[in-house]
Amino acid sequence: MSYSTFNRKHFDSMKEPMFFGENVNVARYDQQKHPIFEKLIEKQLSFFWRPEEVDLSTDRKDFQRLEEHEQHIFLSNLKYQTLLDSVQGRSPNVALLPIVSLPELETWIETWSFSETIHSRSYTHIIRNIVNDPTKIFDDIVTNEEITKRADSVSIYYDRLIEMVNLYNTMGMGTFNVPGKGDIEISMPKLKKALYLTIASVNVLEAIRFYVSFACSFAFAERTLMEGNAKIIKLIARDEALHLTGTQHMLNLMASGKDDPEMAEIAAECQDEVRQIFIEAAEQEKEWATYLFKDGSMIGLNAQILGQYVEYITNVRMQAVGLETCFATKHNPIPWINAWLVSDNVQVAPQEAEISSYLVGQTDNNLDDSDFDDFDL
């Protein structure tokens, strides 16, 4: 079955599964099989922000005053986040759009990916502000072994799914020999399994992998250092929390069988593998914390505390997708982080929200006859 950008078949999109049904044709949102995705789109749009809104001029001075090992912590985290958002800014589109079958979910995937591109642009904004030669930082992302190790784990499931869907779209079902990779079997259960594991690994990426670096950014800001950066990270964290709800919904809908009964069997079959994805990511993040603090800790954080936080947050995220928790840490070792992660104190200037002239295309509906008093024809 090959992909069509405008499927000519007549079908009821309310009866399609989330993925691997008909290609979406009409982008209509008046009827929705899973209205949650429309709600996520609305929420994401309401979060819209631009990196340039945040002033980073003090961060440059702060950065120069950081000790060398603190600069290493700060820059390494930025590099890692740049990697994660480089992957996330494109992969949901490349991997999921060719197989999605619901218009509201298709648009959610696009909205989600788009917001990741804002994150990527904000890293450039931060890096340009604190160093003279951004190239050195960006180049290191593809050569630094600690980072590339992580690149492999965050892209492997995406890449496998994309490869299988390419084969499916060109060759259909069967077993195909791909030079350098051997025989690849394409069948609906295999495709669905690759999809389920991909969504699980993306959930882990957004639910766990970002948080070590969030914690470090906020630990700097607790000392009133790099506060512009912390403001940006706060906005990113708000977006990521919403994205992870998106993948939690996809995983839970799949596992429930309400969307596609075959997917429920696959979800049950994959449960151990998904647990393993969570545990492996947590272990890698703990290793990352050790790498960050290899030359020294920072006030309020060290590798051990950060490791406990990784275990704790992994438990929270596993529970959210219906998995048994697997780590002993049952309490948040850095409870102060929540005050930074909370989104209700992300500032919005009152004029942005209330004064109509600040809103694009806003009209004032409160008119009465007296408004026309000075109006002559």
Binding site: R238, L242, Q319, N332
Partner: protein, 98 residues
């Protein structure tokens, strides 16, 4: 040990319910979501967005009834509640991680 949360000017028809958490018992009203009342009673609950989309404040609901003034964006697993936006409607028992 019994902890009583300071309720803000309870109105006459304000219902009070008991929340059991291990050996603790907390009294809560229907005026505010559970999270803020637990915090006032000195109980640390994990949270992030505080508006129902991140699911960080998901807590086990062992028995009893809660309702949501608006449907949260987060997926609420059966047998769990979202503390940031759940209104307690009967006596309930809750639990954190095992």
């Amino acid at each position: 040990m019994t902890l009583i949360s300071k309720s803000t000017n309870p109105t006459k028809n304000d219902k009070v319910h008991r929340v059991l958490l291990g050996k603790k018992q907390i009294l809560v009203t229907e005026e505010e979501p559970l999270l803020i009342q637990l915090e006032r009673a000195g109980i640390h609950v994990e949270y992030q967005c505080r508006e129902g989309y991140c699911s960080s404040c998901s807590i086990k609901l062992l028995w009893g009834h809660v309702s949501y003034p608006f449907e949260p964006l987060a997926w609420v697993q059966s047998g769990y509640l979202l503390a940031c936006c759940a209104i307690v409607k009967s006596d309930i028992e809750i639990a954190f991680f095992d």
